[in-house]
């Protein structure tokens, strides 16, 4: 029997982490993701795990680095200002090839912004965020169920590629409650970690590092990272298509925006506009090829909907390579996309 519970997205994310075998959680309170910290504070000790309320996000991400170096499945979660504070540590973790799971339940920004949902941390999430040439695998859930599923998946991906994986969510997906199937029969993959720090018993000492002062060390590490990203790009692109087959206009939206956009597509279809939607699930790796494919065939226009001034828009334009006109609706400061505003615009777009 499926175990379905009416829970918030934030709780679903935390359940997904527990199900994936995460037993170490370090975090610092920030709205709109406090439920995760609070859930972990209660559940970790009950599951023989460890919860530490860190003194800051800076400390939290470095505790994550330590636990990851020690070979554990470990997670921290935060919201936009906190994720900014973590960037130094994320760069070190990526450079040192350490697996961990991070979540940014985005709020309005920049600055202290507000506690409404946002999608304006896209650049920070997919282009690196901290210093140096690195990427995270970025998963964008659009529902509490996906908060569970993607977090579970994130741990396997992190271990498989020895890389930090980011759940890029937002205040609404985190706060909304829906029925979530807690898939308690799911088994996490067990991947051995011979590189982990466990005490050098009967083997050479292991070192976790991101510094090389010789001429070639850092360049070699960068090649290693880039080789890894090539495989990730090849193997891990994920997206969902909604009525794109015959679509003249394809919306591109992720996370919360994709839920609203789905409604717009349905209404447009009722008005005999052949609309569809492509929802990137991985924001890194981004479905460039899929978009290129769409605009190379029947699709005559793209329409990007996101809660930012146009961040994913840049990746869509890169994929489009000037083939189709790209329209955009962006909302700022924690405001959500509006059907009433976007739907009438479709009438003015020439699709023949």
């Amino acid at each position: 029997m499926a175990n379905k519970q009416l829970i918030k997205g934030n709780i679903a994310l935390a359940e997904g982490a527990l199900q994936a075998g995460c037993r170490y959680y370090f975090g610092y309170p920030i709205t709109p993701q406090n439920e995760i910290c609070e859930f972990m504070a209660l559940k970790m000790p009950q599951s023989d795990g460890v919860f530490v309320q860190a003194e800051s996000e800076v400390a939290a991400i470095n505790m994550v680095m330590g636990a990851a170096a020690a070979g554990a499945r470990v997670m921290t979660t935060t919201s936009s200002p906190g994720f900014s504070l973590m960037q130094e540590g994320v760069s070190y973790i990526a450079a040192a090839h350490l697996p961990c799971v991070l979540a940014n339940v985005q709020r309005g920004g920049p600055g202290l912004g507000n506690i409404a949902p946002g999608q304006a941390d896209y650049f920070q999430a997919v282009k690196g965020g901290g210093h140096g040439d690195y990427h995270l695998i970025v998963l964008a859930p659009a529902s509490p169920q996906e908060m569970f599923d993607f977090t579970f998946l994130a741990f396997d991906l992190a271990d498989k590629y020895r890389t930090p994986v980011l759940i890029l969510s937002d205040g609404i997906v985190g706060q909304m409650a829906e029925n979530v199937e807690i898939k308690d029969s799911l088994k996490p993959e067990t991947i051995s970690k011979p590189w982990a720090l466990t005490g050098a018993r009967g083997r050479e000492a292991n070192v976790i590092r991101s510094l090389w002062l010789n001429e070639t060390g850092v360049e070699e590490n960068n090649f290693r990272l880039q080789d890894k990203y090539k495989i990730i790009i090849e193997k891990e692109v994920r997206f969902e298509e909604y009525m794109t087959d015959d679509a003249d206009i394809v919306f591109i939206a992720y996370g919360l925006s994709s839920r609203i956009t789905r409604g717009i597509v349905d209404k447009a279809r009722k008005q005999n506009i052949r609309a569809g939607m492509l929802r990137p699930i991985t924001l890194y790796p981004f479905p460039y090829d899929k978009i290129k494919d769409l605009v190379s065939r029947q699709c005559k226009a793209l329409f990007v909907v996101e809660m930012s001034a146009g961040q994913m828009l840049e990746d869509v334009k890169l994929a489009n390579e000037g083939r189709a006109p790209v329209y955009f609706d962006g909302t700022l400061g924690g405001r959500m996309p509006s059907e009433e505003k976007i739907l009438p615009q479709l009438k003015t777009i020439k699709l023949s």
Partner: protein, 253 residues
Amino acid sequence: MAPEVIFKKPDSLREKIFPYCPGCGHGVIQRLMCEVIDELGIRENTIAIAPVGCAVCGYDYWDVDVSEAAHGRAPAVATGIKRVHPDKTVIVYQGDGDLASIGMAETIHAANRGENFTVIFVNNTNYGMTGGQMAPTTLLNQVTTTSPCGRSAHGDGFPIRMAELIATLPACQFSARTTVADVNGILKTKKYIKKGIKLQNEGGGYSFIEILSNCGTNWAMPAVKANEYIVENIVKVFPLGIYKDTTQEKGEA
């Protein structure tokens, strides 16, 4: 009959020449650390943290599992490691810029949580690796590259006494200040490092060993003079001694 070996390189110290300036205390302190690891037989059970600073390449010299940490973050990284491996010996090695400036929050909070690890704190009153800038531990009137007219209490503040500060935290079990500027100090330093690590291995809690160490190059002094300077002057600002020892409080010498 083969002659008896009475002094040798510790096994947990790699066969490698230290990169430190002639006479620098870092080499002495790291040797002591490795002697203690050998004597306690914990080489295969130890995880150390190399900080940002002159000791950053610690893993090139210490033959134990090691993680780097970002500047100041060693106590947070150590917290993560120790929470995963409570049965391993975790040694945190940090300089004064690292520990008392950029990493002050991590330092205080790890001590305040009573993390069960041992901190070896090398106080050379400046930022050695970056070329001798002012640190929170720089003495008043001490000339550094960023206090060219000498550190002024007005504007630069006062040297921070970490061993005393840490000792005020209830979860700290052992806090002491020693030096490697003379033989007596070197012997005491080893004793305190050993005490801290033993305390940790018995599940006793957080220990902090502050070590006054010379930075001859950046102080523009030959090593011998730099060591004399510690013994004659620096100890007046940073008095040597044990500031907290709960094993004593419990009456166990």
